[in-house]
Subunit: 191 residues, 2 copies
DNA sequence: GGCATTCTGTGGCTTACGCAACAATGGGAT
DNA sequence: ATCCCATTGTTGCGTAAGCCACAGAATGCC
């Protein structure tokens, strides 16, 4: 989003990465609740006090990990200069479902305890993403409305993902194609 | 050797490892002479000034890399509580030849410029190793003599390695078996 | 219940590292 | 020969990270 990204001390990046990597590794073998800060800092070969200089607690770390991995995943299939249209929505849907799949496989032991946190996180991120896309295509609509519509759209999409995951036997591509007319109908208010 | 190994700041170990790893990686693709300090520190994501806090120059780094890898290699086939005998000598010979082989393959681009440095280094290390083994088995011989005999033995063994590498077509195991009687004859002065 | 143990945040102090700037050296090109 | 640019070590200063010790909370065990 902001490309200048003014220089960050390399030590900060290094330590952050050490912590994130350590956490992701541990999450594969241990339940989230039973992971202690010490487990993480030991694995990261970082002092416990240093952890707290980067993150307030375990949950903030989880948040950061999700942001990193989710956005990484997202950007592989979407660039933020796209307009919000049928293709974009479909791509977002597919990226989310793929991401969830990956998480539940990679983080077997922790995924269940993560789920509600992940859900909120992704919806917030989505909301921000949609809002960004919408403002970028300068429509003649007040920002207030765009904000709310972003919320609606993010819940809608995320709901679709959850439903697909839990109840559907369709391939993701089919599912989203089926859902698309309804979504587009809602988005039509934009133009 | 010394097992207490009083605690070292983890940052030092980390930085050192980053530098060593970076160097070994670069050595695969570039000639030693053409590797700059900046190349190394960039790859290691470490500041150039930090490099100089750890090593005086490129050669000291090379020295450290060799020590680490050589001793690692050596200890896999030998423990320092062994006595100095036929088996030990044979193991050392094989460890060295294996190590040289590995280097020349791994560090294609740099090996030739390394060679003389490596040679001195290994002989020094060998000398220390032999001296250690000899003193450990408390013989009734002055230290002064043990020191000199360690030198002779290390040159002898290293010479054998070089000759094998350059002139011999025998398998290393055969070669050392052939050379062994002569070496043992020399060592007989010890008992 | 009580007791011991582990974990969590936090603060004060020390140390290692990053940064920018420097003079000195050494090719390489024209 | 001259200029140019890159590399080499070195320095002083600011900041991130390590270390230790602490009190309070949580957990487990009997």
């Amino acid at each position: 989003m902001m490309q200048p990204e003014q220089k960050v001390d390399p030590r900060i990046l290094r330590t952050r990465k050490l912590i994130l990597d350590a956490f992701m590794t541990i999450a594969k073998t241990k339940d989230f609740a039973s992971i202690s800060i010490k487990d993480i800092t030991d694995a990261a070969t970082v002092n416990r006090a240093t952890f707290y200089a980067h993150f307030a607690d375990k949950y903030e770390l989880l948040d950061a990990v999700l942001t990193d991995t989710f956005f990484k995943n997202m950007h592989e299939h979407l660039n933020c200069h796209d307009r919000l249209n049928e293709d974009t929505v479909a791509n977002v849907f597919l990226a989310i479902t793929r991401f969830q799949k990956e998480l539940s496989v990679q983080w077997k032991k922790s995924y269940e305890s993560f789920r509600p946190i992940i859900e909120n996180k992704i919806k917030k991120d989505l909301e921000g993403l949609f809002y960004l896309l919408l403002t970028n295509q300068n429509l003649a609509v007040e920002k207030e409305k765009l904000k709310i519509w972003s919320v609606l759209l993010s819940w809608e999409i995320y709901g679709a993902c959850t439903d697909w995951q839990q109840n559907s036997t369709l391939p993701a591509e089919k599912y989203i194609k089926t859902a698309m007319p309804y979504i587009l109908q809602g988005m039509a208010v934009l133009v």
